[in-house]
């Protein structure tokens, strides 16, 4: 349920633009619609990287979503947002010993080891604590995926353990007294809009899980088949069909589950869960003409929503956006939409047909709930992180203030480093 112009206008009367707003019921509906279509035995985990706003995480966790976290800060966010610790997995290629120790303190479902060295480090830390730590192994499989926008397997990668190198890792995990292998994790890529690709991936990963379980001689507790479900951002893209998706996944999962009744299939999703329920709202500060083009300069741009400027894509495409409210005229003209930065790359709309904009008009960037400020250079030109609003059943609430920007230490209190205690990380102490 995307937020309406009336809702956004009411918020904009209270919160200076630019801001992000999320529809809480929309988040819940999206989660439950997906869950309804998924087969028995499949769990949905929310990838915090797509939007770490605690209000978003709390909303999904309250519906029963697990949490996939990739940093200590995301781990803390998941816990303070009310995430069930038994449904938190900790992925990421650069975990420190302190990160691992904290995950053990919290008693999460599993730490996902991305290498044999990390597995050894986990075992060493668990040994020092005299515990048995549940671990998952992230695997870089031999098979590749078609129809994936960002390919992450089948090539040399910092992520996971090459399938060809898997045996020593499995043998270590099976024989070390302080770790127990409870699952595997494979992530094939992002922004997949082809249902068949998802089914292929899932079948391939479940086949791998079957071989891993056979090698270990014990059932896995879970198989994380990644996710990467996309949604349509641009022209000529179409959303995944939830009925088709549900039926195909049921087929793919059924055979595996007949043999592995107690193994849950984890689907981790970020963008798919949160993109649609969020918007970015910016105001037009000036309208001007240059060499025959009409520019609308906005108070927020690539500094808070880099995706709209095409960062991370080979070619930028125009984001879905609209002018908020009834336009004085129905006639549309092409607009260059730009943000507040002093760089030509801060173009967030290239000749977008819109009713003739004027200073003060507000623009809504749709499907902006994922990879917004957290994936953007919010400190550029010191504009800072924008405010975030959650539209709850009780109305809109401010869940994050816009940054005050200045986080530096006043010169009077600069800290001479020789007086400082080092913050030791036991990983490399």
């Amino acid at each position: 349920m995307p937020l309406t112009d009336d809702q956004l206008t009411a918020i904009a009367a209270r919160v200076p633009t630019p801001f992000f707003a999320y529809d809480q019921q929309g988040l819940r509906d999206r989660f439950h619609s997906l869950k309804r279509h998924l087969p028995e035995g499949a769990d949905v985990y929310y990838s915090l990287k797509s939007n770490p706003c605690k209000a978003v995480v709390a909303t999904l966790a309250a519906q029963g979503a697990g949490c996939e976290v990739c940093s200590r800060a995301e781990l803390e966010t998941a816990v303070t947002a009310g995430g069930n610790r038994r449904r938190i997995i900790f992925v990421g290629p650069a975990k420190s010993a302190a990160d691992i120790g904290r995950a053990m303190d919290l008693g999460i479902k599993a730490i996902i080891a991305e290498s044999l060295d990390e597995l050894r480090l986990i075992a060493e830390i668990a040994s020092a604590r005299n515990i048995v730590q549940p671990v998952g192994l992230r695997i870089n499989p031999e098979f590749r995926s078609a129809a994936v926008r960002i390919k992450m397997t089948g090539i040399a990668s910092q992520f996971g353990i090459d399938e060809a190198e898997l045996r020593p890792a499995l043998d270590f995990a099976a024989s070390d007294p302080h770790v127990v292998p409870v699952g595997i994790h494979v992530y094939l890529g992002s922004r997949i809009l082809d249902e068949e690709a998802i089914f292929d991936n899932t079948r391939n990963i479940l086949g791998l899980a079957d071989r891993v379980a056979a090698h270990l001689g014990r059932p896995l507790s879970f198989v994380d088949v990644g996710g990467g479900f996309g949604l349509a951002y641009f022209d000529k893209e179409r959303d995944l069909d939830p009925d088709v998706l549900g039926r195909g996944l049921a087929d793919a999962v059924a055979g595996f589950r007949r043999k592995h009744r107690r193994t849950r299939v984890v689907i981790e999703l970020g963008r798919y869960l949160v993109a649609e329920a969020g918007v970015m709202v910016a105001s037009v500060r000036y309208v001007k003409h240059s060499k025959g083009r009409r520019f609308a300069i906005c108070d927020g741009g690539s500094n808070i929503f880099a995706a709209a400027a095409g960062y991370g894509s080979a070619f930028r495409k125009n984001w879905r956006l609209r002018r908020i409210g009834t336009a004085p005229s129905q006639e549309v003209v092409p607009h260059m939409l730009t943000g507040p930065l002093c760089t030509p790359s801060d173009t967030i709309g290239d000749q977008v047909p819109l009713p003739a904009l004027a200073a003060g008009d507000r623009i809504c960037f749709e499907r902006a709930g994922a990879y917004g400020p957290s994936a953007s250079p919010t400190g550029f030109l010191s504009f800072g992180h924008p405010a975030e609003v959650m539209v709850t059943d009780q109305g809109p609430v401010l869940v994050r203030h816009a940054d005050p920007v200045d986080r530096e230490i006043p010169q009077q209190t600069w800290e001479p480093l020789m007086a400082q205690q080092p913050e030791k990380d036991p990983a490399h102490a």
Copy 2:
């Protein structure tokens, strides 16, 4: 004077990686070396966008650099860092009325208007305060520049007033009782490494200034000729020669200054002043092999230094970097260097020849003083802004703590928006 391995090792014993460190004397030396080569009548302004760290700004301001700011936060930074208000100019295409009012409160050298509409808004606000506001006009000239990496003029642009549309803006500025046109501003582009291109640009802009002064019938107080001086980041690039630069600029400026004795030439520089004195230091967390490649996974990557991952460039190239300290072996092997993010784009070194790295080794990214954390998605995966250290005459001091990351409002105190007073911006109230 780049920071030495010994200096960085001493800092790393006190400050957890990743961090940025700046050499204060290096910043001073760089500024004075440039000043010595510049002709009489030329002033150097520091572009805060390249690095808004207050300690960096304060260092340059104390040497006499002016400040070029592009947001209200940068304006506040310049002032609290001790910048002389009479040497601050305020550029930027999206200034709000509140921004403009604040600049008037502070009594800065000039507000640079980027459009006729902005000029009118400035006049309106000045009229309400019954003051006469010094303004500069940013111009998008007809001439283009060769040898510029990011071209910003001669094409349709959100920046400045098209030269063809200049006359009404000049006439407005000359005739309105509440603004006085004191300068012009032209910015031709970034990362220029060709001295001749700089001289051409300077001559072209000074020619334009001459025509503007003639049209106004009064002398300008300053001509901001932009800057965009580059420095060599990559193989096959060479640094600008300061002697050649100084002589050529003296030639370009001399003719203009003979006719316009009281007009100062402002050169605004960011990268050129601060890049060399700064480094980014990260630690290797894990070393692993995948499909025949050796990966060193670091605790900082594109999340804090996006430039090293090629963000903003069409093709990424390997940044200048080194292993800190004496390597156990002189033999070098190619390494993939990656950061802590869960995306393959977090590659910060592609087959870089280095002594065989091990977990705990530290890597120094050189010439990293410009467009570091402020131009990077520091909130990605919630890793946050890294610590910053200034190496002063009294030793290294911590000038910014690493981010605590969590800036959200606890759920118990979420603020219902209906109870909030809107923060009104008089621009669009």
